[in-house]
């Protein structure tokens, strides 16, 4: 089938089994499919294995809600609005989440290798760091590299000596997540995906993954997107399920659509520092609102309009950002 199936958010998320390996489009606090993340929490997903080029607010929500068992990535935090991942800190300290640290290039190349059908890619980025300390291979320490987990490579990385350069470098293993969830500004009726602005590592995440859910801020005429194929990210046959949902990235930002809701993230970050506060935040903002539109109603029109991007500049010019 060349075309994605159009489904509701609830239907799409229901397809994801507990224990799945998952990755997301976006970058830190930008263009994250937050509505899907909230719905995963509502549906009580368990034992998720996140493999992310980088993490962000969405990662923290999933970890705080107890959905995650393994997190392989290089970074989690909320940029200016929260200096670290307080949930990850708590869950890693208690051993409830196993963390495997790589560098940004390593994670990108793991996803890129997966997206190119290769078992690994070479790099010399981040040699000489504790990322490569053999004692710090956490999945190995927990006995998860014995080959019985199809999505966990036998080794964290391999040191090789290259005959062409005469140098040592490393091979990082490919990843092919079971699921990838991406937020896009525009998707055509048949499924062509257009992402405006920075592409982050979305195309690598999509191609690497077995199943792809795309959440579209808006579904537009296919013919319109195809007038300018230079601007499109991936063709319809790379998308399995398509959901249309406005503001699906809030509180993260979406180029040309809306701004990062910094105050919202700052508040979440504060609440994420203890499990009790997190739970009551989740009660208020995830379970209590019922669904995505309940969430948007709770945020309110005034705030949404402040966040809405200026259609010429692509970001909000109404939102107060600083002290002046």
């Amino acid at each position: 089938m060349a075309k994605p199936e159009k489904v509701t958010l609830q239907e799409a998320i229901r397809l994801i089994p507990d224990g799945s390996t998952i990755t997301f489009g976006g970058f830190t606090i930008w263009r994250r499919p937050m509505a899907a993340v909230y719905e995963m929490v509502r549906q009580g997903k368990q034992d998720l294995h996140l493999v992310e080029v980088n993490g962000g607010t969405h990662t923290e929500v999933l970890i705080g809600a107890g959905c995650v068992k393994i997190w392989e990535s290089c970074w989690v935090g909320h940029e200016l609005y929260g200096k670290l991942g307080a949930c990850l800190d708590r869950f890693a300290r208690s051993g409830k989440v196993i963390v495997e640290d790589y560098s940004h290039v390593h994670m990108l190349y793991r996803m890129l290798a997966g997206s190119m059908g290769l078992p690994y890619l070479p790099t010399y980025a981040s040699l000489g760091t504790d990322i490569l300390n053999p004692e710090y291979d956490n999945l190995g320490r927990f006995g998860l590299r014995n080959g019985s987990h199809p999505k966990i490579p036998k080794k964290k990385y391999e040191i090789v000596r290259d005959i062409f350069s005469g140098n040592e470098l490393i091979h990082v293993p490919a990843v092919n997540p079971d699921w990838c969830i991406v937020l896009a500004q525009m998707v055509g009726e048949e499924g062509t995906v257009r992402v405006k602005g920075q592409k982050y590592s979305d195309v690598e995440a999509i191609r690497a993954s077995e199943k792809v859910i795309v959440i579209a801020e808006q579904i537009v005429p296919e013919e319109y997107l195809r007038r300018d194929p230079d601007l499109n990210l991936v063709p319809p046959y790379l998308v399995d399920y398509l959901v249309e949902l406005p503001w699906a990235g809030h509180p993260t930002g979406c180029q040309g659509m809306y701004e990062v809701d910094g105050q919202f993230i700052k508040n979440f970050y504060e609440k994420s520092k203890t499990q009790e506060m997190f739970d009551s935040w989740a009660q208020e903002w995830i379970f209590g609102v019922g669904d995505h539109y309940g969430y948007l109603e709770k945020i309110g029109v005034r705030q949404l309009e402040d966040l809405r991007a200026n259609q010429v500049l692509g970001y909000s010019t109404r939102m107060r950002r600083g002290s002046r």
């Binding site: 980088n54 991942g85 890693a92």
Partner: protein, 270 residues
Amino acid sequence: MTKNAELAKPGEYKPLDLLATAAAREVKNGDIVFAGTGLPMLAIMLAKLTHAPEAVCIYEAGTIDGRPIHLPTSVGDARNEYQAAVAAGLNEVFAQLQRGLVDVAFLGGAEIDRYGNVNTTAVGRYTPAPEKRLTGGGGNPDINSLAKRTVFIMVQEKRRFKERVDYITSPGWRIPKWPSGELVPKQEVYGKFFRGGPSAVITNMGVFRFDENGEIYLDTVHPGFTPEQVKENCSFDLNISRVRGETLPPGRREIELLYTVIDPEGVFLA
């Protein structure tokens, strides 16, 4: 308008203004700069408005040579894309980085040691479960491996300037060679791929550089501090024998640019 050459007097600038100015001065005209979120954005914009108009900025999220008219708050920000040459993705910018195109990069860290090794991953024990988890490395170790020069901007505290960092997230001048973990010069680990490494550390108290052995020393001390005070804020025995004098304060024109052109909204400069 005030002249660039007129330096501000003590009391006429804030610590952050000095940091931004000192960081901007690390950019040479024509440099290709890799900048992260926060202060580095002020620094590169200031450099471009003053002595380095032909410097070019690459952001990790994929934007190349943006000309923002509103200060971006993070590397993923849509503001970076305004009048950018290319809005690409990580693969493009990391390819350029690994290809050796980046002259200077600005980075941060929670802990640093005498060889410029930096920790942004975990404080205390790392495994089986960390004592205190930080953000993780992100692109910090990659950029520090692959750029010709890197400049760290950090807070000066005894607990942050350590004899040995708890976790080497980002490689300094003496680093472990795996699998043995023996500490050797960076050149030995990177071989033909060696391009450089940490060239300056700028804190709220001074500017540090690295000697022939890759050891950190105090280069200039910010006005209002003494080398001894800086030394007291390091856990290791800081070399203060090479101090050249005081860090040049910001120019009046630089302060004006920071507050009226670069960050008029007070995003970073409250």
